[in-house]
Point group: C2
Chain length 656, copies 2
């Protein structure tokens, strides 16, 4: 049964011979650990390159196709619309039309509100819901995402821009810097996607994103208190302490009761509509049109009562007309170029994180695949073109995409419909917003960002992984108490620290034998596991690279020293063998080999024999090539721990 036994592969299963009853283990079958066939250098490199950058095999459709077909496939790759556009039918259009109208009604008030977050005139928000969705519809692959300005990115952009230029004193430079940042955000996104570096986005851990989004949502809600309460003098800072200071120092005479009346009543209205929409699937359109309805009603109300003369702040004049060209406004030289690049890179990457998360989540729901890197190219192109047409950074919006999905969108045409509605608004309807009170925009934004505070996810993170939860809280508190950039920095920092920890401090475990079996388990986890006298068995739970080789070596030596002390104290036989169980060690590099060599020599001096059990194919290959296997002796490398123990202490395995 074990006649054709083969080199292990990290699994460590024994043949029958070892597992027979004790009376039959006279000659335990020892598997020879063979060196696997060598792969050519080119193949090895191509495999690693392919797995890193092209793991989803985007070019698989191109195989075995004629040249013209390849060209067509190439075109479809860059402009997916040419693929799904051919299959478009009236039924799909119906779904997209309804969805498009629905998200348009949602987006118009949000655009006006979010532009203020970004410190820009409201018309730029509308511009950014016109051009970018059109570009995306031609180049993007997600069927459910809804494009436009979003709360968090608007806040981030506004914060970063205000740190450089004051929008009240130098509005022209501010605007130009905003377009410059948008341009370079787009360039960053295209570059990441084109060079298939999309996996870098994965480095912001889910927990950190949950914390960051929650903190950003609260910060945005706090910023709305200015419009909500009608306060004139308000802090420029975003931290919770500064905001509360502004709010309470201006109370109560700095608060405008008419404004508060409007904001509170409509906020209640919006929350009630949201509740209705959750209760009944059919009434999904109610929370979707509620914001626009509130805007219409409140505008009418202010117009009738001329409440703006009584201290209610209004949007005021909104320019008519579509996006003017802004190509000449972008800074391509000078001081502001470097600032624009920096702000662009940061906001571009945060925007990508949102869009990719949305795209993946809906693709999983509807069970289709999207190519993350291709999406990034589409999003980047959208922002580059947007920056030349007076738009600022747009990306996928959580709230709008959710509504899009529920409203029955079929393809990205819903974005085109929304874009057309925005066009109509820009051409004809902007004067209607003259009397729209800022209070209603504040209420709409507060209502929109509440879902970003994902308490459920935070609780789950707490239950699963405490370190993850620390990351989450760190990002959350950083955004609220310091600033958005600090919160972002903390998120990224903690994510990297987690990777560092994983990489530099792998787990190791001392193994003991479970009585009456040949099974070896972690003695801390399973108290019934007993250590074999004279033998120390340590398992290393990670590949041994330069980042952890010294730690692994020192840890093993320390455990050995501790054990030797214990053994001396109770007069047990000295340790004579150190078996390293290597099945989790998937790979080893030169530093790792050196660490093993140092360990081997150090053990030789103490008359302890080093034995390796269960090295994987990569590892045994490198041990062979580095001549460490020669130095150690091939007879000291075993397939399993049980075989290693058998060879060290032949009597042990028989004893119960």
């Amino acid at each position: 049964m074990s006649g054709s036994a083969h080199p292990m592969d990290g699994e460590g299963e024994l043949s029958a011979a070892d597992m027979s009853s004790p009376r039959q283990t006279n000659t335990p079958f020892v598997h020879k650990v063979e060196v696997p066939p060598k792969q050519s250098l080119f193949n090895e490199f191509m495999y690693t390159f392919k797995e890193t950058f092209f793991h989803d095999d985007p070019l698989r459709h191109f195989k075995d196709q004629s040249l013209s077909k390849k060209l067509m496939l190439g075109l479809q790759s860059v402009f997916p619309v040419s693929e799904w556009g051919l299959k478009y039918n009236l039924k799909m259009f119906r779904g997209d039309f309804i969805a498009g109208l629905t998200i348009a009604s949602l987006c118009i008030p949000q655009d006006i509100g979010y532009s203020k977050l970004a410190g820009l005139n409201p018309k730029y928000g509308l511009y950014s819901s016109f051009v970018p969705p059109l570009v995306y519809a031609f180049m993007g692959s997600s069927r459910d995402i809804a494009i436009g300005p979003v709360a968090v990115v608007s806040l981030l952009l506004g914060t970063l821009l205000r740190a450089e230029i004051d929008p009240t004193t130098s509005p022209n430079e501010y605007l130009r810097l905003a377009f410059t940042a948008t341009f370079f955000a787009g360039v960053t996104q295209v570059t990441l996607g084109f060079f298939r570096l999309g996996f870098l986005i994965d480095f912001l851990s889910h927990a950190a994103v949950v914390g960051f989004m929650g903190g950003a949502a609260i910060t945005i809600a706090l910023q709305q208190l200015k419009g909500f309460l009608g306060i004139k003098k308000f802090t420029k800072k975003t931290s919770i302490v500064a905001v509360f200071q502004s709010v309470f120092s201006s109370a109560p005479h700095g608060w405008n009761w008419q404004t508060i009346l409007i904001s509170i009543s409509f906020l209640i209205f919006l929350l009630v509509c949201k509740f209705i929409g959750k209760k009944s699937k059919k009434l999904f359109w109610i929370p979707a049109v509620a914001p626009l309805l509130s805007v219409i009603i409140s505008t009418f109300f202010v117009y009738i009562t001329r409440a703006d003369r009584k201290g209610v702040k209004i949007v005021n004049h909104l320019d008519k007309g579509i996006n003017p060209s802004s190509l000449r406004l972008i800074y391509f030289s000078g001081d502001y170029l470097a600032k624009g690049i920096r702000i662009g890179v940061v906001s571009g990457m945060v925007a990508l994180t949102e869009a990719v998360a949305i795209g993946r989540s809906f693709a999983a729901k509807k069970d289709y695949q999207i190519d993350g890197n291709k999406e990034m190219v589409a999003l980047g192109a959208m922002n580059v073109i947007g920056s030349m047409t007076s738009c600022y950074v747009a990306t996928g919006s959580f709230s709008r995409s959710a509504v899009n999905f529920v409203a029955g969108c079929q393809t990205a045409v819903s974005n085109i419909i929304m874009s057309m509605v925005v066009l109509l608004t820009l051409l004809f309807l902007t004067p209607l917003f003259k009397y729209t009170p800022n209070a209603i925009l504040a209420a709409i934004i507060i209502n929109a960002v509440i879902p970003l505070i994902d308490v459920h996810a935070a609780v789950l993170i707490f239950k699963i992984d405490k370190l993850d939860f620390v990351a989450c809280m760190g990002a959350f508190l950083g955004v609220i108490f310091a600033s958005v950039e600090i919160g972002l920095l903390i998120s990224v920092g903690i994510s990297f620290a987690k990777i560092l920890l994983q990489v530099t401090r792998p787990r190791t475990a001392i193994l003991g034998k479970i009585p009456r079996t040949s099974v070896y388990r972690n003695i801390h986890q399973y108290p019934e596991a007993t250590m074999v006298p004279g033998v120390m068995i340590i398992r290393v739970d990670s590949a041994i690279y330069f980042s952890n080789s010294n730690y692994v070596r020192e840890r093993i030596q320390r455990w050995l020293i501790d054990e030797e002390e214990k053994v001396k104290a109770v007069s047990l036989p000295n340790i004579q063998f150190l078996i390293i169980e290597m099945s989790p060690v998937t790979d080893i590099d030169t530093s790792g080999i050196h660490a093993l060599e140092d360990l081997y020599k150090s053990l030789q001096k103490r008359d302890i024999q080093l034995v390796l059990a269960n090295p994987g194919p990569l590892v045994i290959d490198k041990l062979h090539v580095s001549n460490f296997a020669d130095m150690l002796g091939y007879d000291k490398i075993f397939l399993t721990v049980a075989e290693a123990v058998n060879s060290c202490c032949p009597k042990q395995s028989d004893e119960v």
Copy 2:
């Protein structure tokens, strides 16, 4: 025999029941995968904290000791000399004395030469071999390291300083910046050591260090061509192209034949002495005193022949006297402060890398332990005090430590002896160096740096790990063709890229059954392994964290799609089960759990059942807490792959 079988621990060994002959496998024993006992949050955190920062348990001696003993141990910890000083005897002194004299004879010409690399007056090199070794002897733990200025750090410092200030036009500012950088190098080193962040040094992979050192050595040798050939006009750049341009454009009339005569003859002399020293262990002192001997002979020769009047450049006047205080020269404010900090941090960390490598290597040879973090504190203190006493960045020197070792040093007292000799030189002997030709210093430096080019290590790296070799070559070529900083940046960059790769692109493997066994192996490695019809078995070779969870999920799905296509083409039964072998998956976080959930839902839609085999204790715990185990069903989690396959297709295991 398997009555008391226990939850697996990532090892996956079966009980006897599964391994019996086919006729007996009527009711295969299925091990229940138990959830291990829960550790309290505090214990878990303390364990991680301890392993990260205190893995070598530096405070273990402090346990169960009286207060006075603890104080004494604390003192010994900061000043190890108080521990080994008490055991010092005459025999040890004899070894240290000989070693000290030997390294002193080596260090004096090197100090003069290395100061020029750093762009400083030669006396500062001598100062840096006086104070720092003294401080180290009191605070350091390595018995073999020899302290003083070193070639690579001097080059690095010189390059970084020259980029800010020109030493010929503003020598005072240059000197002050050098002391500032030295101060902050020391501060960096103390900080890293005190906060036990020493593992950060491990992030420069061995391969990158080999390449960087080799490149730096060649760059230093090239720089010596100025003194070697007696060229007056020489490039300030360090790249090989610039140097060759200077060398060949000034040939042949720019070369001074008298200088070349001196340099070549003494270089040959030094190489011959080195060869003799390698051949015979007893004659170790010959290559050690050869440099000083060359200096004496050549100085005498130049004095007699007044060769300095014929174009041979000499050291000229060297100030007498010991180190003056330089505390007031350090920049603690102003522009140069930031520059000093930056240069200090970089050179401090490179200096640490050398010293820690030397310390570890000799500790391994002589089989004692050194605490890396404590060493860093000692090295940092040495540089901080040095910066206040006119020294520049000193660290452990490869060449001097090797000589120290071979000459029979016993403790750090050899450094004290060397320091005393340098003191004598500073007080009385500096006038003797007036007629020392630069040519001899150039020859000595070239001879000293040749061993830094470790071709043997590079060949070994090439054989073991091709990616490591790319890192090595990248650093090497970066230093030679661009600059030391670029080479360093490439080293660090490639080291990080390697960690990134390890973390984001773990290996996965499809497993197949080895005929006539219950052993499952990678089908690419073992062609005889056959896949089980209707069942896909994939092994994931890493913990599943946010950094790779999306990749793992997408990779598994892609393999499934490829397999489904193959299976359709040859009319085999469709895949109905996907078994994930999880023994190498040592841990999983929230992103990993989400990836598993998405995978599960996606498979449900295709009528494929997800099955998990062999999850480790951490993983099963998190699966339980996140309710994924509930969602999947506890009956779909098995101890081994064989058991999982048995439950999916009970007939398969019986068939041969």
